[in-house]
Structures are given as C-alpha cells and as structure tokens.
Subunit: 320 residues, 2 copies
Amino acid sequence: MNEFEIIEEFLAIKTKNRKDVIQGVGDDCALLKVPRGQRLAVSMDTLIGDVHFLSNANAADIAHKAIAVNLSDLAAVGAEPSWITLSLSMPEFDQQWLQQFHQGLRKMVDYFGVQIIGGDTCKGPLSITIQAHGFVPEQVFCRRSTASAGELICVTGNLGDASLGLQIAKGDLDVVDEEAKQYLLDKYYKPYPQVAAGIALRNRATAGIDISDGLLADITHISQASNVGALLRWERIPLSDAALKVVGKQQLMESALAGGDDYQLCFTVKEDELDATIQALETVGSICVPIGRMTGKPGVRVLDNEEEVDIAHFGYQHFS
Amino acid sequence: MNEFEIIEEFLAIKTKNRKDVIQGVGDDCALLKVPRGQRLAVSMDTLIGDVHFLSNANAADIAHKAIAVNLSDLAAVGAEPSWITLSLSMPEFDQQWLQQFHQGLRKMVDYFGVQIIGGDTCKGPLSITIQAHGFVPEQVFCRRSTASAGELICVTGNLGDASLGLQIAKGDLDVVDEEAKQYLLDKYYKPYPQVAAGIALRNRATAGIDISDGLLADITHISQASNVGALLRWERIPLSDAALKVVGKQQLMESALAGGDDYQLCFTVKEDELDATIQALETVGSICVPIGRMTGKPGVRVLDNEEEVDIAHFGYQHFS
C-alpha cells in the first residue's frame, strides 16, 4: 500500500460529512466552514513512541490517547470539538497495527462526533501529531490568564491514576489486586477528555487548563499567566480507591501532584459560584472538587494539614 | 530550557497579532476568527529528517522548506495563508540550530504575512509537522476532481530543478558549473510556494494541485479524481537553463516528470481561457505553460515528439 491508500483505508474514518466540512480527506487541503458567531479553537500535540506512550501498547489505545490528549486542550477552553487532522509516522507498513489504530480512532471519532478531515502518513520513527479543532462562542471561553486571588481552585476528577497506571505498564509498580491494576491501566491508556465539563464551565470558570503535565506544572501555568499564587491542600485532592489501595502516601502524592496524563480539568471559580458549578458539572456526569485557592503571594504551594509539602523535586519537563 | 521556553523563544515568531488571532501561542488552544464569507482551508504535512529533508541541512533552510511545503498545498486550492501551527521534535536541545531554524521561520512568516499560533516541541527524532491555515471565498476554489477532457494542462514554472538539487546535495550528481549548481541547490532547499498564482487561478483553473510528489504522480491525482486521462508533451515541459546544462535527456526527463519537490502548481483550464490565464499569472510574477491536455482515455501518458515515453518505472511513494 502507498501512503494515499493507507490514509484512505486506515486514517480517514468514513462517516457522513459533517455539515461544516465542504471537503475532507483526499485533496491538498480540507475546506471547512466555521459557524457564524463562533471562534475556531485549535490545538496541536505530538506523541512520540516511548516518550509519550509505550510503543508496544495496543494500537487502538495509542489512537485513543492521541485523540484524547488533543480534545483535552479543547475542553480546557470550553470548545466543542469538530475536526481532527492527523499525521502518522511509522517505521514500517503493519496492516494489523493499522487496523487496531483505525478501530481506536473510529471509537473516539464516533464518541465525540468529530471528523478526520486530513493528514499525512510517512515512514519514520513511530510518532503521531494531531491537531484538534473546535468551536467556542465569541467572548465565552476560559483562558489561563484570568484567575484572581481569592478564587477557588477546582478539579473535575481523581488525580494520579494515570501516573500509577504508567508505572504498572512499565513494570515499575507491582500490583496484586487485579481490579485496581486494570482500573489504573485503563486510566493511563484510555483517558477521556472532559469535553462536556469544559463546555459546562464556559460561563462559570474564571480560568482553566487541562492537567496533562501534572497538577503542579499546570496550576503553575495559570498562576504565572494570571500573576497570582496558588495554595493547594493535599487532603482535598480527589483520589481513587484503586490509587489509595496500591501505593503509600509519598508515592501517591508524587503521582497525584506531578504525575500528569490524567486529563482532568483544573479551573478557578469565584466562591459564590461554587454550588452552581458543582451542579452544572454533575449534570454532565462530571464532578467539581475544590482543592485550594488562588492567593496574592506568587508561587505554588501545597499544604498537608497545614504542613508545607516540599514540592521542589516533583515534575518532568522536556529538555530541562 | 524547557519545552515552553523553547516554544516562546524560538518557535513563536513575535509579531503584532493578526486581526483574526484572538489568542495565539502560549495557551492550551489558539482562538481564531475566520472572516465572514470565507472558508477555512487547512493542510498538514510532516517532514522527517533524512526522509523529506537532509538532517544536516542548514536549519534555516529546513524551516523554510517546512513552511513552503504546507503553503504550497494552500496555493493549490487558491487559499490566502493566515496561520501556522508547528510541532518540532528534535533529538537534543541545540541552541544554535534553533536560532537558525527561528531565522528561517521568521523570513517565511514575514514574507507570506502568516502568524504562528501554536504548536508543540519535544525530544525525539528530528521531525517537523506543520499545519497551514488559509482563507478562500465561498464556492471559489480549485479541486482535483473537476477537470474535464479537452482542457489544457498547465504548470506555473520549471520542473526538475529541485530533484537535481537534491541529487547534488546528496553527492549523487557532480556539477562543475558553480552557478548552475547553486541555482539548483537553492531550488531544492528553498522552494517558494505559488501562493499568489493560486489566488490568481481561483476563477480560472478548473482543477489544480501542487507538484510535490512529481508531475506524473500529481497529474494522476487529478486524472483519477476527475475520472479523465492526461496526455503530456515532453517537449513543452518548461526546464531551466541550469537543468539543461548539467544532465542528459534521460536524467532530465526522470527529474522533471517524477522528481518532485518543485512546488509549482499544475492546473487545468479551458482552451479559451488560456490567454487570460497567461496574463493573470504574469501579473503576479508567475508563468502559465501549457504542457498537455486532459483526455477521455483513462491513465496518464507522455509523448516525446509523438513517441510514447515509458513512464512505468518513474515515481516514488512511501511504503510502496
């Protein structure tokens, strides 16, 4: 098969064209229509084999995650996802792998109602770059730079699960409890981006971000962009039963605060909006857990029952 | 430096925001506005080191080419380029390389008036994925599938130069004439996409494509999508003095017909539109050279003064 046939057969998920797609896969360009009154939100992420995912993972899970990661960025600004472009580089033509990848893509595309509108494929080290596109009404969106001191910091779900799942997948963490093990592996391999929660937060959150690099790294982005500080309370961080079961406090803390890959949203709300926000997120099957507060003092700090946690050694960054 | 600092310093070319950019680099998503009455055209291409470009090439030239390749796809549909997203994967942090890359980006971004609105960077094998975005008025664009038998096939410039330049760069072709050598190397390393020509062709060409994979491969796309054949005449293919000087007929033919990387446009026009099209392209500093005709007989054929050329062994495709 040549690259065009691979795109046609495995990457271009055949569905009825969305109304906003005038021309999809198969030409030099896709031609698209952004609905009147809507802004276009776009986000691009590259996932590299054995950097962002395990190359020997099931290809359907790799596809799932590649889509999830990008839709999560749209969720952070409250955008409704519409289109996906996808570039796949792989070392050799592997039909079975591509079929699995295709199945993973199809599930996500169907689940979120998005259309793959273009892309590229070529021979090279295993790597996937996806750009997700979505719509957000004019002047209604969360930014990172709009949090204020005094506002509550909230998250949409449990933290640390994906990081523990990765440790299990890599063989660094041995878990006897089969149910907990599978739960954590699923959280790592198949995260679901908080798209509906992001849309529900449009008119409520004052700032927002998705937790991809870990809570501490991501709340630091909001703090720096908004020029305020953040004080988090360890005892309020939502944790799954599985996570509580398989590791001790120190490892749990590191996973939940710095682990990344959970793709929950972290956002700020005014205190008098909290109850309404909890209700709004409940309506879309999500939760709203207050875990701290923006402060006037720069920097990010974590208290564990009023004791300051040493967070200096947490975190991971490319090239640092 | 961490990945965010690299994006900030080297990849986010600082310019005044375009009016259609509400939020550019530095957040989860870029937020954009497509002008009323315009369609959005998008194209994504990945360039991998030592597959699509020589890894040891000057980084400014690599950046130039990565942008050029993507804008060329926009040119093919007559779109006016607006925004670029860019994901760069590189084996290690190399400040000098990044500075050169930055300079190459800046030149192209300034030249074409586009803005880099987002992207990603990570550690991995050298690879660049770019998505180019542009605008095209509603219902005015070239497609591949709209050529008809009897229409003229034209190109916007010389073919084969880039392929010969690549052979020189790889050391496979030894050229004594310094001027010809530099000319051909420049055509390979720094192609200029036919953006203005694409816009000029909006209301004239019946179908169009950019010649990235080689004339034969790309005219085959038009033929198949339009369900017609193509008959090309070798003696009409425009060739540079440099190309004519450095290789014999056989090698020239292979480079011009199958070589790729020239990023000229190939398009079809009705015969009675030819003179107007020649004038329209001249106005924007381009040319219009008729090189053949769409036919009712399926397939692509090339005649060399009425003798059929054996083209079966030409061409290159990933994974084939």
